[in-house]
Symmetry: C2
Subunit: 291 residues, 2 copies
C-alpha cells in the first residue's frame, strides 16, 4: 500500500512551478506572488465520513469542520482567510445531507468573514460522503509564516491545549487560530509556524525537517486537553492549534502583547541536531495520526 | 431526492460575498479582483469513478480528464489557466491508482503550462475514487467572458463538434479550448461564452437565462462528432467545446482572424424571448446530462 507521503515523494520532484509560486507544495499553504507585496495563499483539504467524523455527526458540523480545518492552514501561514470553493461527492442519501453540509460550511465561513465563491456537487455510485474544500487567503509577502524559519535557540510555543480532540468533540468545535496567526505574523513574533493536524510530534517533525533544526520538548509543560494523557497530547492530532517558534529576543514582546483569550504555552526550544527529544534528551518517537 | 440545482438554489442566495468578488457562484468560474486590472479566476470540479469515466479507465487518463475539464472552465472565461490544487479520496486500491491519477493530472497540467501547487490525499472507507480539483487562472478585468453578455442579434457559435463524446473517447482525449477562449477575449470577438459540459441545450439555456435572451438554433448547422445523432449533439454533454456569441459587427473580424486548427461554426442567433427554438421556431427541450 502506497502511503500518502510515498505518493507525494514520487510526485513532487517532477512538478514544475511557475515563477509566481513563492511557496510550492509542502507547507500548510502554497503561496502565489500576485504583485503589490501581497501573496495569495491556497490550500485544499478533505473530510470523509467515517474517517474525519463519525457517520452520526450532524452534516452542519461536518461541513463546518471542513471549513475550519482549511482556515487553520491559513492561520499557520499568518494569513487572512478570504475565499473558499467547496466540492461534495455523496451517495445513498436524499440530498438533504449535502445541503446541510454545505450550509454548515457556508455558515462557518460567514462567521470567519470568508466568502464561498464556488462549488461542485456530484453523486457517488456507493454510499458515502466526501467533502473537498479549497481555501484562498492573503498575507503580506514580508510577513508570511513558514515551516522553514525555526532557528536553534528559538522557543517552541503552542496555543491552547493538545490531545483528546476526537473524543472531546474539539475536532468539531474548535476555533481556527486565525487571529493569533495573524498577530504573530504582523508583529513578527514567530520565526516559524504550523497547525497541529496530525499530532505535535509529527507536525513538529515537519518543522524540524523544513528548518533543519532539532527540538527539545519539556513534556511536563505540554497543556493537556480535557484529561488527555501525554501520549495523546503528542500524537492524537486534530488539535488545530498553532505550533510556532519565537526568537529569544522577541519572547518578552510576545508575552507582553499576547491579547487573546486562548493562552500560548512555551513547551520547548529548537536545538542543534535533527530529532525531537524530551527534557532528558530521550528521543520522542510517537508517530501521529495522518489523515 | 434533492437535485444539485435545487441545493444550489437554496444555498446561493444566503451567501454573502466580499467586495473583491467580481463574479460569484453561477458562472464557469468565480472571479476575484486582485487589483492591477487583473481578475483571479477560480473553479472547482470533480470526477468520480463510474460516473465521469468507466472503472477500467487508466488512472492517468482519468486524472488528465479532471485537469482538462477544469481548464475548460477557465477557457470559457477567456482566461489563462495557471495553478491547480488536487484532492483525491480513494479506497480499496493499493495507492498506485492514486499516484497514477495524480501523475496524469500533473502531466496534463504541465502540457498546458499550469502548476500543481497543492493537494490532499485521503482514504475512503469503501472502494471508490473521487478527484476534486480547483483551478486558478487570470484574465484582464476588461476582457473577461461571462454568460451574461449575449444580446439579441448576436451570432451563436461553437468550436469543434458536438455529441457522442463518451462513446468516442473524446471525453478523455479532448483539448480544452484555452487558446481559442483567450483569443476571443483578448480580441473582443465574443459577447458571452460557456463551455459545453452538460449538453448544448442545457448549457445554452444557462447563457439564455444569464443574458436574458432567447436563442434560435439552426439544427442543420450543428457540427456532429463521429456520427453523433442530432439529439446526441444537443444533449450528450462532455463536449468541452466553447459555445459563444459574437456581435454582428464583429463577425467579419472573427472569420478573418480565426487561426486555429479547430474550426468554429455559426449555429444560430440570439433572439428575443427566453427559450431555445429551432429554425422553424419549434421549442428545443432535450434535457441534458448533469454531472
Amino acid at each position: 500500500m502506497l502511503h500518502e507521503l510515498d505518493i507525494l515523494a514520487k510526485l513532487l520532484p517532477a512538478l514544475p512551478q511557475s515563477p509566481e509560486v513563492a511557496v510550492g507544495p509542502g507547507d500548510d499553504c502554497a503561496a502565489l506572488d500576485m504583485g503589490g507585496g501581497i501573496l495569495l495563499l491556497a490550500a485544499v483539504d478533505q473530510t470523509v465520513s467515517g474517517v474525519h467524523y463519525t457517520p452520526d455527526t450532524r452534516p452542519e458540523r461536518a461541513g463546518a469542520k471542513l471549513l475550519k480545518r482549511n482556515a487553520s492552514d491559513i492561520a499557520a501561514m499568518g494569513g487572512v482567510a478570504r475565499w473558499v470553493l467547496l466540492a461534495t461527492a455523496s451517495g445513498g442519501g436524499d440530498g438533504q445531507w449535502v445541503l446541510d453540509f454545505c450550509r454548515g460550511a457556508a455558515r462557518a465561513a460567514e462567521e470567519l468573514g470568508i466568502s464561498l465563491i464556488g462549488g461542485d456537487i456530484t453523486a457517488l455510485p456507493a454510499a458515502g460522503e466526501v467533502g473537498a474544500l479549497t481555501i484562498l487567503g492573503t498575507v503580506p509577502k514580508d510577513e508570511i509564516l513558514r515551516r522553514t524559519g525555526a532557528k536553534e535557540g528559538d522557543f517552541l510555543c503552542v496555543t491552547g491545549s493538545c490531545g483528546n480532540s476526537f473524543a472531546s468533540g474539539h475536532h468539531l468545535d474548535f476555533t481556527p487560530r486565525l487571529a493569533e496567526g495573524r498577530f504573530l505574523a504582523s508583529h513578527r513574533l514567530a520565526s516559524s509556524a504550523i497547525d497541529i493536524s496530525d499530532g505535535v510530534l509529527l507536525d513538529l517533525g515537519r518543522v524540524a525537517a523544513a528548518s533543519g533544526t532539532g527540538f527539545r520538548i519539556d513534556t511536563d509543560l505540554i497543556p493537556l486537553r480535557n484529561g488527555a494523557a501525554l501520549k495523546q497530547a503528542l500524537t492524537d492530532g486534530e488539535d488545530y492549534e498553532l505550533l510556532f517558534t519565537t526568537p529569544p529576543d522577541r519572547m518578552d514582546e510576545l508575552k507582553k502583547t499576547w491579547r487573546f483569550e486562548t493562552p500560548f504555552t512555551v513547551i520547548g526550544r529548537a536545538v542543534s541536531g535533527a530529532g525531537i527529544v524530551d527534557q532528558n534528551g530521550k528521543p520522542l518517537n510517537g508517530g501521529g495520526y495522518e489523515h
